[in-house]
Symmetry: C2
Subunit: 111 residues, 2 copies
Amino acid sequence: MLHDPAQLDLMFQALADPARRQMVDRLSRGPASVSQLAEPLAMSLSAVVQHLNVLEASGLVRTEKLGRVRTCQIEPQALRAAEHWINERRLAWERRLDRLGDFLAEAKDES
Amino acid sequence: MLHDPAQLDLMFQALADPARRQMVDRLSRGPASVSQLAEPLAMSLSAVVQHLNVLEASGLVRTEKLGRVRTCQIEPQALRAAEHWINERRLAWERRLDRLGDFLAEAKDES
DNA sequence: TCGATACTTAAGCACTCACTTCACTATTGC
DNA sequence: GCAATAGTGAAGTGAGTGCTTAAGTATCGA
């Protein structure tokens, strides 16, 4: 369920925005309320809530409301899924380069 | 030069589109020409070229033109930069959870 | 040299995104 | 109860995205 293209879409799209990355960065240092997330950002609270909704829809962030304050935290599994997608492609490419190197080395030995 | 926010922006934005991720996926298995990249995609060649320009601007893909064919390959360093950003945030969060766990365990020992 | 191939560029169009403001609904503390 | 706090929801706007078609240019192969 974490590896379907639609979810990856949402995650990378969520990470594409600098304000949202800043929010993730803040949350990586511990949970925060909506206002705390908004504080360093030069935009309305409303805009922050909209960003937060994007992050939540992507699965990168989980929130819980207690009384009037909504507390947000990172969902590390989702981060891991995005990381994994990139890692697999990079490794595939690097393994390919290695095999190519081996092939060229062998070809040289035989000449 | 690889870690500035603007470059990360371009990379995550590039990866946010399914067609572009499919292109990266294809390229992770080896270099390809523009037409080869376009072949499995249900869109005009022109659209593919535009996607390719986005990928190239992001630094994720490097292209080289020989005669009339443009050959594309993955730039693994850029992939690594995106991977690294995610990894650092995830690890920060997980280390935090670990410390919290230790604290709770200690508190329990002392009770 | 001439037609086919492999892009390239530009213009245009529908749709989405990142905001804004304004009005509104819980909670909380005094 | 009432003001302050914390967040929510809707409507609007301007800029950006993802395509399309159409009209190029450059190169290759016979």
